[in-house]
């Protein structure tokens, strides 16, 4: 009888794990297909064979420039940023145990964006220094939000409300700086308010790549603790999780991740906010939910970029499209929270 129960248990847990693995593989395939699409489609369409010929430098001309210098950086930086936003959003949401607590809702990416605008438009600095400054600003904004919501104990709805306030304030600051910096280009303005791949360059790749690899690696390491912390601080402590260290480590790593991505692409709207919940829906509670969130982030960015470049004649920046996806989800979430609140009250 007990043997039977154990076998059954093993089967149930293995099935969940298997399902998560299949999902990772599937999402990876979708991401690769979308990525090929990004290289092939645009103002001029190329076949896959042509794309490879250009990438390997076998053929030159305008095609080589379009693919190698325009589309490839978008593919690389967009993919890395999508992954970074996805993983960072999942980490914030798990850590604060609230789907609203993603860095793009609570003003963290807006803080990084404001710092990047200040560096790039006002001081004329870009590259690693601007990224570094964006990270520091992200940390400072998070610190300030934590402080205002009552120190370390305040992981909760207070912090989220204060964060939303910060978000509004920082976006106003960004708009003001854009005006002051005599930046009348709508494209640039949208990049720093909503996120865009239109002005990414090959030189953005190294910093984004290195930071994304190191910080994601750190978060994957902390993931086993993070999963226990989803049960609440008390259970996590009783199960032997060093919660204070985990919290600080995850928060800082997730912050650096989202700030670096923001410095490269601007705060691509709603990617961090949507990726975790979508991944959680696909494979709930799995160890692989974190990596799935990253892949969902990549797919969201790629799909939005493809839609914006090929469906609309205007060529909206990605952030406008992803923002459109995020808004209804936010409404749904708030309506659900409201229902729960009514039930409790």
């Amino acid at each position: 009888m007990n043997q039977l129960a154990q076998e059954n248990l093993k089967r149930i847990l293995a099935r969940q794990n298997h399902r998560a693995t299949v999902c990772v593989a599937l999402l990876l395939v979708v991401a690769i297909l979308l990525g090929c699409g990004m290289l092939m489609l645009g103002n001029t369409n190329y076949s896959l064979a042509e794309v490879f010929a250009y990438l390997l430098g076998k053929e030159g001309g305008s095609g080589a420039y379009t693919i190698g210098s325009l589309r490839l950086p978008k593919l690389l930086v967009g993919g890395l940023a999508g992954f970074a936003f996805g993983v960072s959003g999942y980490t914030f949401q798990s850590l604060l145990r609230n789907p609203l607590a993603s860095p793009d809702i609570i003003g963290v990416t807006a803080g990084s964006s404001a710092a990047a605008v200040f560096c790039i438009l006002i001081l004329g600095i870009s590259g690693p220094l601007a990224s570094g400054f964006a990270v520091v600003a992200g940390l400072a904004v998070t610190g300030l939000i934590l402080l205002l919501s009552g120190g370390g104990k305040a992981f909760g709805s207070r912090m989220i409300l204060i964060g939303i306030g910060f978000q509004a304030m920082l976006n106003a600051l960004i708009s003001w700086m854009l005006l002051k910096g005599s930046e009348y280009d709508v494209g640039t303005a949208l990049r720093w308010l909503r996120g865009s791949l239109n002005s990414v360059q090959m030189s953005d790749v190294p910093v984004t790549l290195i930071v994304t690899v190191i910080m994601s690696g750190l978060l994957f390491y902390c993931n086993r603790y993070l999963r226990m912390m989803q049960l609440g601080d008390e259970y996590a402590t009783a199960l032997g999780v060093p919660i204070q260290a985990t919290r600080i480590c995850c928060l800082v790593a997730a912050l650096i991740l989202s700030a670096t991505a923001t410095a490269a692409t601007g705060p691509i709207a709603s990617v961090a906010f949507l990726s975790g919940p979508i991944a959680g829906r696909i494979a709930p509670g799995s160890r692989k939910t974190m990596v799935l969130s990253g892949l969902v982030g990549v797919i969201l960015v790629y799909a939005a970029e493809l839609v914006s470049k090929n469906v609309f004649s205007t060529g909206y920046p990605v952030g406008v499209i992803t923002g459109l996806l995020g808004a209804p989800y936010l409404l749904l979430l708030l309506l659900n929270l409201n229902k729960k609140g009514e039930k409790l009250g």
């Binding site: 049960l231 008390e234 032997g240 959680g280």
Partner: protein, 267 residues
Amino acid sequence: MSSLAIQHSFGAKNISTGYENQLILKDLQMEIPAGKFSVILGPNGCGKSTLLKSFARLLQPKEGTVLLDGKSIYELPTQLLARHIGLLPQSPTVPAGITVADLVARGRFPYQTMFGQLKKEDYEAIAMAMDAMGVTELADKPVDSLSGGQRQRVWIALVLAQDTDILLLDEPTTYLDIAYQVEILDCLAALNRMKKTTIVAILHDINLSIRYADHIFAMKQGSLIAEGNPKDIITPDLMRTIYGMESSILTDPETGDPYVIPRSVVK
């Protein structure tokens, strides 16, 4: 799970603790009887939960310490401690969409290494814990779809899967109907009898406490007022002291235990 629990000496040594300026526990000394079922009784706000949190290392005392086999629990490695002391907190969070099997399996965390998969003894412990709490049939159901009583049994199964020698439970039966309360306490009593697991529970129902406890700790305003076998310490005087309540005490015709009937509250 099949082996007997190790009998530890465990208790609070002169702890004072509190939040901000307010002291909740005042120089409290308490030795938990090994291998026994102990219940902590006391009015709301008397420091029961705070005491249990200190025992589980959730709250570091301002003065004094909690000793396990003569060593301060704050100096022991966290993972090792998690194999000795388990806790059922009052309000755990259910991660969205997670299944019962997955949740109970998380109780094995203290035994896992970095990339460690669940081993044979892990499955054994999980299956036995689920069987003990009667949730085997629910294994592949999402926890957020269960009723309150089922959910509570799943949480207790998680702590049982942790397979600790000492089990701390903060109001394990609150919000449950009387049949569920008895069922859960029966399970805990059976665990205590069969494995000699030391159990410390906070309960609000005095008569259920008397029935299940080998040892009762009565607390008021952060201090220990009385302790001992329920037959010896449950008196109208004690009820008046800790709850400010007049009561009559009868004898349970089946068990011979005292049975408290509340009469009136003195202000």
